[in-house]
């Protein structure tokens, strides 16, 4: 009987020791998870910073309406301007854009853009209000 009691006490002590070890592992694992979460959040913030840095806010105005209808679209600076113009054409249901020019109006006057090139190549960054419509007509 005393042998059995001794064995039971021994097992209990072992079980307590195992439990303490498991709790220590659990605490360590939770710290690891917290560290990983923190690193992930940092990485996401850095990704957003890079993405924001390499994007431009764009609004296109035409006499058929604005694209987007309100505010600005965030698009990569390295994207060709015509990509957004085609979206505007579809959204605003403009049938034919032959002879249309995209431009920006600056303090120095109106500057025509090369829509086959990117915003960055056209010297645009940050925020761009692009005017789009037919160039001056022929005649005379």
């Amino acid at each position: 009987m005393s042998n059995e009691l001794g064995k039971a006490e021994h097992d209990l002590a072992k079980a307590r020791a195992d439990l303490e070890k498991a709790e220590a592992h659990h605490a360590e694992a939770e710290r690891e998870i917290a560290r990983a979460r923190s690193e992930l959040e940092e990485a996401e913030k850095e990704f957003e910073r890079i993405e924001k840095k390499e994007h431009i806010q764009v609004s296109i105005s035409t006499t058929a309406g604005f694209y987007p209808a309100e505010g600005f679209d965030s698009v990569p600076e390295k994207q060709a301007i015509e990509h957004e113009l085609h979206k505007a054409q579809r959204e605003l249901r403009i049938k034919d854009i032959t002879g249309w020019i995209a431009s920006v109006i600056t303090a120095g006057g109106k500057r025509t853009l090369d829509s086959s090139k990117s915003y960055a190549e056209n010297g645009l960054s940050g925020k761009a209000e692009i005017d789009w419509g037919p160039s001056e007509g022929g005649g005379g």
Partner: protein, 145 residues
């Protein structure tokens, strides 16, 4: 074109010529109700150009476009350094300077251009009311004075 249909098309095509677009382009809309659009173009260092478009029978007919002084009087002499579409005239019907460009009624009724029919450009995206105004604006921006 039935007058009601002309008015409906006019209103559809001019609904976006509002403060947001005008603010960006330096346009001042003095009046915009069928069949009249009275508008001025402004830009830094330039004398504003005012004009009235009369869009009766739109779009069977192109708009008649009267160039005006900033106060709204008919422009009898063109300002210096205009670009090609601004014709010193006098036009055979109005006896005034005029916009000599496809999409202007004065162009299509001028003896030199009566064979260039409005019907060949009518309905195109560059020949909506806003499209015609944009073409004139772009021509004006290329000039000086």
């Amino acid at each position: 074109m039935h007058p009601a249909a002309a008015q409906a098309l006019f209103e559809e095509e001019t609904k976006h010529l509002g403060p947001a677009l005008c603010g960006r382009r330096g346009w001042t809309m003095h009046r915009i109700d069928f069949p009249i659009i009275d508008c001025s173009f402004s830009a830094s260092g330039r004398t504003p150009l005012r004009m009235t478009l009369t869009c009766d029978n739109w779009n069977d007919l192109p708009p008649s476009i009267r160039l005006e002084t900033p106060s709204g009087e008919p422009l009898r002499v063109l300002p210096p350094n205009p670009t090609g579409v601004f014709h010193a005239g006098p036009h055979n019907l109005t006896n005034l300077p005029f916009v000599c460009m496809r999409g202007s009624r004065e162009y299509h009724t001028h003896p030199s251009h009566v064979t260039d029919l409005w019907d060949t450009c009518r309905g195109g995206s560059s020949y909506t009311i806003g499209g015609i105004m944009t073409q004139i604006w772009n021509a004006w921006l290329k000039g000086t004075g």
